[in-house]
């Protein structure tokens, strides 16, 4: 069975979660990472919804972190990308690369 392919924003969230790692990926940091790297504003509500959907699909898992002072003493919900999630990221980025193919001279390197 082929791995789930991801929508664009799902892919961005998955990539941010992978980059930040299981101890630092949570809603606020993921939103900030996407904003910094893509330069586009990110609605935190979208990150919530997307994470819930990815979790329901079994692509990510979440757990309660340690309380942090900058959060008013409240813990974040940390995100870990699961094996299926990683496979979905690979499948989506692979599909993008395959489609870009020899268009790199027009589009630049992708992936």
């Amino acid at each position: 069975m082929p791995a789930d392919s991801l929508a664009e924003f799902e892919l961005l969230v998955m990539l941010a979660a992978l980059r930040l790692g299981p101890d630092e990926a949570y809603t606020v940091s993921i939103a900030e990472d996407i904003r910094q790297r893509t330069g586009r504003p990110v609605r935190r509500a979208n990150v919530y919804t997307t994470l819930s959907r990815l979790e329901a699909k079994g692509l990510v898992a979440t757990r309660r972190g340690e309380p942090r002072p900058e959060r008013g003493g409240r813990p974040p919900r940390l995100v870990t990308v699961r094996a299926d999630g990683l496979a979905a990221v690979r499948a989506t980025t692979g599909a993008i690369q395959a489609m870009v193919g020899e268009l790199t001279h027009l589009l630049g390197e992708v992936g």
Binding site: Y26, T27, R44, N46, R68, R77
Partner: protein, 891 residues
């Protein structure tokens, strides 16, 4: 550095409890970052926007976790098609329950908190004086109004008005009655409604010597003047007074109550002494920022001062300020709307219990259906559907059914409301028009309330059985055998089944009672040919009430008697009589006392019958036979004469069929709050019995007729006998009446067939509806009881197999299986009999146990047969299969 408290509170409220810390923590962190990067103002603005955004996302997430999908709705619709019998019977029952609930709600809201369709209509109040020593309102208040106008600060735009009914005579020369409000010009400031055409009344119109002017209502403008755009400036006649139309009010405007025309009041308020002058109503508008309580306090202060300055007239008077709607619905002093609502609810308790049983019945049937789908539910559960998911699905199925039922119920409510308002108008307003803010439309609140009832019905009929069915889904799954037993009917279902039997026992009785009551009305065969009679309600201006100049000071009865003489000279007219009420129509009821033995009344408050005053030739004109005693004589019109004639129905219902001639009766004070201490009326003697002419009150047929001189009638009906038929004679009656006296107002000029159609249609409609509903509810109950009993026995297939395998005799097995259902039926039947006995004792009139004895015995046999049939089929099936097979299949 912390985020706004409201934002944290809101997110904490909207987030699921497991994610509350995360949501509030994220908010705090994101806000902190923004404060560092963007400054206080922008950070707060962005946090506010984000809170709303995140909050709505969390809310959507919560809603989606419990919400249903379109697939559920499609499945629900499919189930309706798959089980058409259940859809029809269940839907009809739910529709009936919702119909009763919605119409009651609409009527109560129309009475308790109507919307006055005027700008800020809820701030319009009535000011009045209550005289506790006389137990009535004092409406001669012009002296007080002059003071209130000067001094009151909490109530503005004080206006006075009084009602006048006048004959509006148009260009065709025919008069038709209208309700005129003589109002002070400030009434139009108070109503804040601009005219549709022309202008409203002004203070200049009120000055002595001013030209007589009138503002007309929209209905009059379209109905009498064909919507003439040049009506303003036209001269019309009101009775015999010429007057000029200066304006037309917009559609639906009937301020202050139910008025068609407005004329200047034209009184100098300051000229009156305390408690002198005409009787008027006083209205005003609460000043900006003033409350009802403020107005009451201020008026109380003024009143205390008046008590000092005018003790002779004002010592006992208590001022009242009440919202406009409450002032016109006759709420008894000392009774609050809350108390009235509570009484209404309490008196409707049996109805509410009945509705609960109807819903329980549908639940019973849906529960039986749900259990029959246990295999499907077990498979769904095995495929990962949670219990909640399955319950939601069953709920949605019921919701689809209930929604369809609600649409039917709302349509019925819309139609039934017309009839309900007709009853209110006849019973509470004595046939007068209802206030302009009351119409037969459905309010949005009622539609919303119907939505709530629909969800409630779906919860009772879908979610409740769903929860019970799915309680043992896990067991069914563990056994790995779709179709294996595991669902259990708890004790609550025994109660539901027994209650159903009780209710279904009542249905045949209610059905027969309704049928017999309805047949009194529907099968009534009048002794006269209604199509040969033309009727009209007539009223003239009474002495001392004339407005303007030239109105005749006369009485309705004397003018009507002159009209009668003129009509008798018309070709085709055989006879003309006058009466207070028409035959075959509603008669207001009165409580009576009999001197001597009488039939047992319907309740402990005694007999209540309709009555009418008629001229002595009434029975002759209607070709009604005097079946005992004598008819009226001229001597019966003497002041000290006490002769009355009663009809057949009175003799049957009140006197139990005994000889009525010579029996004495008297009226008691009505059981109303108006005057409970009123002395009983003098004794009257029954001198004759006439065949029934269809006099009906709220309590059924039976009428008392009093002889009256025509000139003593303040409101009368003309009854014209036209042997060649009444068609086409209406305009002739109007022309004759206007020619005799232009002030004589003729209402509802029509044939007697038309005049009596509405009440008959009403009875026909309700009798049909009630019979249909009772019949269907009976069918539904029987179906539900059969389904559940059949199911419970089918559940015992395995047990039957084991019993037979262990050598138990078939007779013992059958007894063991049948014992419980039979016990449930017996419990229901016994309870039903007890309840019926109580009912029969309480309502001996109309429902006699003996009369329904055969029906009840037949019903008990039917119920037992249904029980046996429900148990027999699955038992025989279980007995036929081999014990080993039964064990294997069901174990």
């Amino acid at each position: 550095m912390s985020p706004p408290k409201w934002a944290a509170w809101l997110l904490g409220l909207l987030a699921p409890s497991s994610r509350k810390d995360e949501a509030v923590g994220d908010l705090a962190e994101a806000h902190r970052r923004r404060l560092e990067q963007r400054g206080w103002l922008i950070a707060h603005a962005l946090t506010a926007l984000e809170t709303v955004d995140v909050g709505s996302a969390l809310l959507r997430a919560r809603a989606s976790s419990i919400a249903f999908s379109w697939l559920d709705v499609k499945l629900g619709a499919r189930m309706l098609v798959k089980y058409p019998g259940l859809t029809f019977l269940g839907g009809l029952s739910i529709a009936f329950a919702i119909f009763i609930g919605a119409s009651t709600f609409e009527l109560i809201s129309k009475a308790v908190s109507p919307t006055i369709p005027l700008p800020e209509g809820d701030r319009i109040v009535a000011l009045r004086l209550w005289n506790p020593t006389q137990g009535r309102l004092e409406s001669r208040v012009l002296y007080d109004v002059a003071i209130w106008r000067e001094e009151l600060r909490t109530v503005e735009d004080l206006a006075v008005y009084r009602d006048r009914e006048r004959n509006l005579i148009g260009a065709d020369g025919l008069g038709a009655p209208v309700v005129v409000a003589e109002v002070s010009a400030s009434a139009f400031d108070l109503a804040r409604t601009p005219p549709f055409l022309g202008r409203v009344l002004t203070e200049a119109d009120e000055r002595p010597g001013a030209t007589s002017v009138v503002v007309i209502g929209h209905d009059i403008w379209t109905g009498r003047f064909g919507g003439d755009p040049d009506i303003v400036g036209t001269d019309v006649r009101l009775g015999s007074t010429p007057t000029t139309v200066v304006g037309v009010m917009p559609e639906g405007f009937g301020f202050p109550v139910a008025h068609d025309l407005w004329m200047p009041f034209g009184s100098d308020f300051g000229a009156y002494e305390p408690l002198a002058g005409p009787r008027v109503g006083v209205l005003g508008r609460l000043a900006p920022a003033a409350s009802l309580a403020d107005a009451r306090s201020e008026l109380a202060v003024l009143s205390r001062r008046l008590r000092t300055t005018s003790p002779a007239t004002h010592e006992h008077l208590q001022p009242q300020v009440v919202p406009l709607a409450q002032a016109f619905l006759g709420l008894p002093p000392g009774m609050s709307w809350g108390l009235l609502s509570a009484i209404g609810l309490t008196s409707n308790l049996p109805l509410i219990l009945f509705l609960i049983l109807v819903c329980g019945n549908v639940a019973l049937l849906l529960f039986a259906r749900a259990t029959s789908r246990k295999s499907e539910l077990v498979v769904r559960s095995a495929l990962g559907a949670s219990r909640r998911r399955i319950v939601i699905q069953l709920f949605v199925e019921a919701l689809v059914l209930a929604t369809g039922a609600a649409v039917v119920a709302l349509m019925a409510t819309r139609y039934g409301l017309r009839w309900a308002l007709w009853i209110v108008q006849s019973e509470m307003f004595d046939g007068e028009p209802l206030p302009f803010w009351i119409d037969a439309s459905l309010s949005l609140q009622t539609v919303a309330y119907t939505g709530l009832l629909t969800v409630f019905a779906a919860l009772v009929a879908g979610a409740w059985p769903g929860l019970r069915v799915t309680r043992s889904l896990g067991d069914g799954l563990k056994r790995g055998a779709p179709g294996a037993g595991g669902f259990r009917f708890g004790g609550v279902w025994t109660v539901v089944i027994a209650s159903q039997i009780v209710v279904t026992m009542l249905f045949p009785v209610v059905t027969m009672a309704v049928r017999s009551e309805g047949s009194v009305e529907l099968d009534y065969d009048a002794p006269f040919r209604a199509e040969q009679y033309m009727v009209a309600r007539v009223r003239a201006d009474e002495p001392g009430t004339s407005i303007g100049a030239g109105l005749s000071a006369t009485t309705t009865g004397s003018v009507a008697a002159r009209v009668r003489e003129r009509l008798l000279a018309e070709p085709g007219v055989a006879a003309v009589t006058l009466a207070e009420r028409l035959p075959m129509t509603y008669h207001p009821w009165h409580q009576i006392e009999i001197d001597g033995p009488s039939a047992r009344p319907r309740d402990e408050r005694g007999h209540r019958v309709g009555s009418a005053r008629v001229t002595p030739d009434f029975f002759d004109v209607l070709d009604a036979d005097i079946v005992a005693g004598r008819g009226f004589r001229s001597g019966d019109l003497e002041e000290d004469a006490r002769a009355v004639i009663v009809d057949d129905a009175f003799v049957d219902r009140v006197l139990g069929g005994r000889n009525a001639v010579g029996v004495e009766i008297r009226y008691l004070a009505n059981e109303s709050y108006r005057d409970p201490s009123q002395d009983p009326q003098p004794w009257l003697q029954i001198v004759g019995v006439v065949e029934e002419l269809g006099a009906r009150s709220f309590y059924g047929p039976g009428g008392v007729y009093h002889p009256v001189r025509p000139d003593a009638l303040s409101s009368a009906h003309l009854i014209v006998h036209l042997p060649s038929g009444a068609a086409g004679f209406a305009s002739r009656v109007r022309a004759v009446a206007t020619a005799v006296d232009p002030t004589l107002r003729l209402h509802e000029v029509q044939s007697l067939v038309q005049a009596t159609r509405e009440p008959r249609d009403f009875y026909a409609f309700w009798t049909t509806i009630l019979l249909a509903v009772c019949g269907f509810a009976l069918l539904l109950s029987l179906g539900g009881i059969y389904a559940v009993m059949s199911y419970t026995v089918a559940q015992r297939t395995r047990e039957i197999g084991i019993r037979v395998a262990l050598g138990s005799s078939r007779a013992r097995v059958v007894w063991a299986v049948f014992r419980r259902p039979l016990r449930q039926v017996a419990l229901g039947l016994v309870s039903g009999f007890v309840l019926l006995a109580v009912m029969v004792t309480a309502l001996s009139e109309g429902i006699a146990l003996v009369r329904f004895g055969a029906v009840l015995i037949g019903y008990c046999l039917l119920m037992t047969a249904i029980c046996l049939a429900a148990c027999a089929t699955p038992t025989l099936r279980a007995l036929r299969i081999e014990p080993g097979e039964a064990l294997r299949v069901d174990g």
